[in-house]
């Protein structure tokens, strides 16, 4: 009996066990280790604060998506002993493996910025929407917000779903207008990047959005601390951005057990080959989804495409053959722009988001880098696809590798 152990039953881990249970024969045991009985649809967190989604729409039992023939071990991981091929749980249980998939994702860590978690304002005037509880607390805060400075802030890249903070600021603008109080609010977007948009073609196509919506941009803002008493975020170069309501995206980090196991980089991400997702140190360890250090967006779409490639490679790898499939960093994301519209972007490691149509040339029906209602409908419809097609491991009607079909090539950056 050969043993595959998957750590984490989030988007990547759940897809992996569903796909591999179908592909691996009876001589394989598959175990998934997960500490939560609830599987959250994380893209839904963006909609909870505005009341677009209700809590029950973004959560289902974790076990519902674990197929028959896969052992579900509920527990907290203490560490992996990669030299001994064993996972040790916090309660002392040991789970030995022949092959390991690390898929425990990344989490917001407000404890890493002075004054953020420990300043006495957490979930009062300092909020986040990258966790279920955080999104629900923010929902109450927004309902009670009647005016002042609303600052949306990103601590540091990389973060999960890198466009989500921008989407939040667009949706907040829309929400405040609907409530008739937009004039009483100064909306600020603070980012450590040189701008809200940093890729040439997206900047050209979308750069006007902030100005149109009267959103102030505070770029190159590297936060040093939150001054909870004076209600301001303070940068390393001593800029102060005051707030009445702060919606921050805390530093994102991989799980602490990765660090304890000596398997992580400075942010607890597992270094892997960016095309095969195989650990650069251990020949029987892969890392998928947000848990790896690949230079792609940390997003479910990337996890989905990477898992498709990984499954084919894994079957070759365990048979002792070279891995012949290469992940290209493909990501495909809807960007909510407010007022029931959204944009769509499609890109990979080497190609920035371009204009054009998706998935079919000329026909679309989606247009890239352009606001439309159909994109927004697509984003909302995706929740059903996630629960019913993606997690159970069924194929979706989009190419795994990015296709240039339908894209307009212009001034390509090398």
């Amino acid at each position: 009996m050969r043993r595959l152990v998957v750590l984490g039953a989030g988007t990547a881990g759940t897809m992996v066990v569903n796909k591999l249970r179908k592909r691996l024969g009876e001589q394989w045991s598959i175990t998934v280790v997960e500490q939560s009985e609830v599987h959250y649809y994380q893209p839904g967190y963006l909609f909870l604060p505005f009341g677009t989604y209700e809590p029950e729409q973004v959560l289902k039992p974790t076990r519902k998506f674990i197929p028959e023939g896969v052992d579900f071990v509920r527990g907290e991981i203490d560490r992996v002993l990669p030299e001994e091929d064993v996972v040790v749980l916090a309660d002392g249980r040991r789970v030995p493996y022949d092959y390991l998939v690390v898929a425990t994702g990344t989490s917001p860590r407000p404890d890493q910025t002075p004054g953020m978690l420990d300043g006495g304002q957490w979930h009062r005037s300092v909020h986040e929407f990258y966790s279920f509880d955080g999104a629900m607390a923010l929902r109450e805060a927004l309902r009670g917000f009647t005016g002042g400075r609303l600052v949306v802030h990103v601590t540091e890249m990389p973060i999960k779903c890198p466009v989500a903070p921008l989407e939040f600021v667009f949706l907040a603008d829309s929400y405040l207008r609907r409530r008739g109080i937009r004039d009483q609010v100064e909306l600020v977007y603070a980012t450590p990047l040189p701008g809200a948009f940093t890729k040439p073609i997206a900047s050209e196509a979308l750069g006007h959005l902030l100005e149109d919506k009267k959103i102030l941009l505070e770029s190159d803002f590297m936060i040093e601390r939150v001054d909870a008493d004076s209600r301001a975020i303070v940068s390393f170069d001593e800029r102060e951005v005051p707030f009445d309501l702060l919606v921050t995206v805390p530093l994102n980090m991989g799980a602490d057990y990765v660090a304890r196991s000596g398997m992580g980089d400075e942010l607890n991400y597992v270094p892997v080959d960016k095309h095969t997702l195989l650990s650069t140190t251990y020949d029987n360890v892969f890392a998928l989804g947000d848990a790896s250090n690949i230079p792609a967006s940390k997003a479910g779409a990337v996890a989905h495409f990477a898992v498709e490639v990984f499954v084919e490679n894994f079957v070759q790898h365990i048979a002792g053959h070279p891995m012949t499939h290469e992940f290209d960093g493909h990501a495909n994301c809807f960007i909510e722009s407010g007022d029931g519209k959204a944009l769509l972007i499609d890109f990979n490691y080497d190609t920035e988001p371009l204009r054009g149509t998706f998935p079919l040339p000329k026909v679309g029906p989606m247009r890239l880098l352009e606001e439309s209602r159909i994109n927004h409908m697509g984003k909302l419809a995706f929740r059903h696809m996630y629960w019913n097609l993606l997690l159970p491991g069924h194929r979706l009607p989009v190419p795994t590798l990015m296709s240039m079909s339908g894209k307009i090539v212009e001034n390509q950056e090398s």
């Binding site: 948009f197 940093t198 400075e266 988001p353």
Partner: protein, 104 residues
């Protein structure tokens, strides 16, 4: 990509003047690049630049400020003193590496 002449060498640059071929970089070029943005290179600057170059050679990515601090051992405050206002962008520019970017 446009070609420009810096310190007597022809190099490929993008619209903002960032080198697009990291192998065209040299320490001598770094001095001129730094002067272009008003920085007089010292040994302290060069230690940071050399770390960035070495790390890029290993990872294929420009190190983030956090990585320069935790792996390179240069405190963030010091980076802001050496490369005022926009350290991530300025360090990348002088080191001849891609600047920090998001996905869009």
């Amino acid at each position: 990509m446009p070609v420009t002449t810096i310190a007597g060498h022809d190099v490929h640059v993008d619209d903002e003047g960032f080198l697009t071929s990291p192998q065209e970089w040299s320490p001598e070029l770094a001095r001129t690049l730094a002067q272009n943005i008003g920085i007089e290179l010292t040994d302290e600057h060069m230690k940071v630049i050399e770390f960035l170059r070495k790390d890029y050679a290993q990872t294929g990515e420009t190190a983030t400020i956090r990585r320069v601090q935790t792996v390179g051992g240069f405190p963030t405050k010091q980076l802001f003193q050496l490369f005022p206002k926009k350290p991530a962008k300025k360090m990348a520019y002088i080191a001849g590496l891609p600047k920090p970017h998001g996905c869009v």
